[in-house]
Symmetry: C2
Subunit: 240 residues, 2 copies
DNA sequence: TAGTGGTCTAGACCACGGG
DNA sequence: CCGTGGTCTAGACCACTAT
């Protein structure tokens, strides 16, 4: 009964669940079948099921609670890089007020591939959103975002005047992956005015492209006054 | 025989090996006792030993090879963040020449805690190293480093005139962990001259403090011309 | 209280690859 | 060849907690 189909049994179980989570079939908070149920489904021992689920938990894809069951976890990105850019959370933690203010909203159809570092298929309909993140009235970031409407059609009817699109998108398309590029620049006149800093002052810039299975969902550029913002990351051999 | 001493058996095995690796008692490339040997040492079943070793392998701390055994892996930091800052590797990959040039070397004894973001115990003897990283003759970074001599005494007699201290330190003290802070700044006159850029141009700055079990090993500030350098990171829910 | 995950056992067969 | 890791079993007892 020892299935040896190139991949092991626990890898098969791991992969099946991983795929369903990445597909969006299973969403954060959803319950995963119990070990006993998976035993029956796959026709293997509980140890084997346990090995797969334990590995999924170690990878941060699911969370396991006694008596309750196993559940799809929130995306890891939300707990790492997002953590330092979720202004609402940061503000709340420090007892400060947070506000998002929409500056501009328009829908464009891309004639050519994007001029940025990220390639975008031409002809895609894109929702452009510019906005400011403010903490206690101070502008922490200028956000320039593009949302691919074929990937996230609901964005067309969503009101972003006071809701930051970042968190909304995370709820729409969980378990994406992302490429981050961090760079520095000088403030031009227009950017300086929006951020409330001097022209020529230093800026810390984060570009992020979020994808789901090779489909681009959104691109965002977060432009921070260097005096107000830095990125902090902790790395160790054990957990990256 | 089911040991239940607050931590489980496989956690105990995992922790013991992890500690020996972080202590430096086990160094990269060293062989770890086989599963059968660990069974005897801990008096438990092979499955339990296997669970610990499998988890260590998943965490990237060890590598396992059939017939050969299990071995301490190279630090993960070297494969993630370090990767984008190892100028020698980057240059070699692009077929370009790399050079490190030492600018200044001195030994100081700290009277007060460091003025930087990182706290450093006073009274520590510190080796200060300033140097330039050049690729094809172009300065990619100005490095200002402090090496704690109590943590790395060999640094006192080491020649850093052409050897970049980063790689050397990695070999001396493997399996450290680190905190990174990325920020942006404007070039003052002195820095601009060293980097070969205009005064007031944008700089991308990386501060890193490397530790080993709460003991600071080194602090480094890498100052990059923003026009020449950016940090790229890939994140996904599976592996961070 | 009952269901869930957490842990552990004492075996077993297999695949791989270094000696 | 044969020691090593890779996988799997069919149980078992326990800890936790939602109900």
């Amino acid at each position: 009964m020892t299935g040896q189909a190139a991949v092991s049994f626990h890898q098969r179980i791991y992969g099946d669940i991983e795929r369903r989570v990445l597909n969006g079939e299973l969403r954060p908070g959803d319950r995963i079948p119990s070990e006993h149920e998976l035993m029956a489904v796959y026709g293997c021992s509980r140890m084997t099921v346990s090995k797969a689920l334990t590995a999924l938990a170690a990878a941060g894809m699911i969370e396991r609670r006694r008596r309750a069951g196993s559940f799809v976890a929130r995306p890891r990105i939300e707990r790492t890089v997002m953590e330092i850019q979720d202004f609402a959370v940061e503000a709340a933690r420090a007892g400060q007020s947070y506000a998002y203010r929409l500056l501009a909203r328009r829908i464009e159809r891309l004639a050519e591939a994007e001029g940025s570092a990220f390639p975008v298929p031409a002809g895609t309909e894109v929702l452009r959103l510019d906005g400011l993140h403010q903490i206690d009235g101070v502008v922490m970031a200028l956000e320039r975002r593009s949302v691919m409407l074929d990937a996230v059609p609901h964005a067309r009817e969503t009101d972003f005047t006071t809701t930051a699109p970042g968190r909304w998108l995370l709820q729409q398309v969980p378990w994406s992956d992302a490429v981050h590029v961090i760079s520095a620049d000088l403030a031009d006149a227009a950017t300086a005015r929006l951020l409330g800093v001097d022209k020529g002052s230093a800026l810390l810039v984060l570009d992020r492209e979020t994808r789901q299975t090779a489909l681009t969902i959104t691109q965002v550029r977060l432009i921070h006054p260097a005096a107000l913002y830095r990125f902090v990351g902790h790395f160790n051999p054990g957990n990256g």
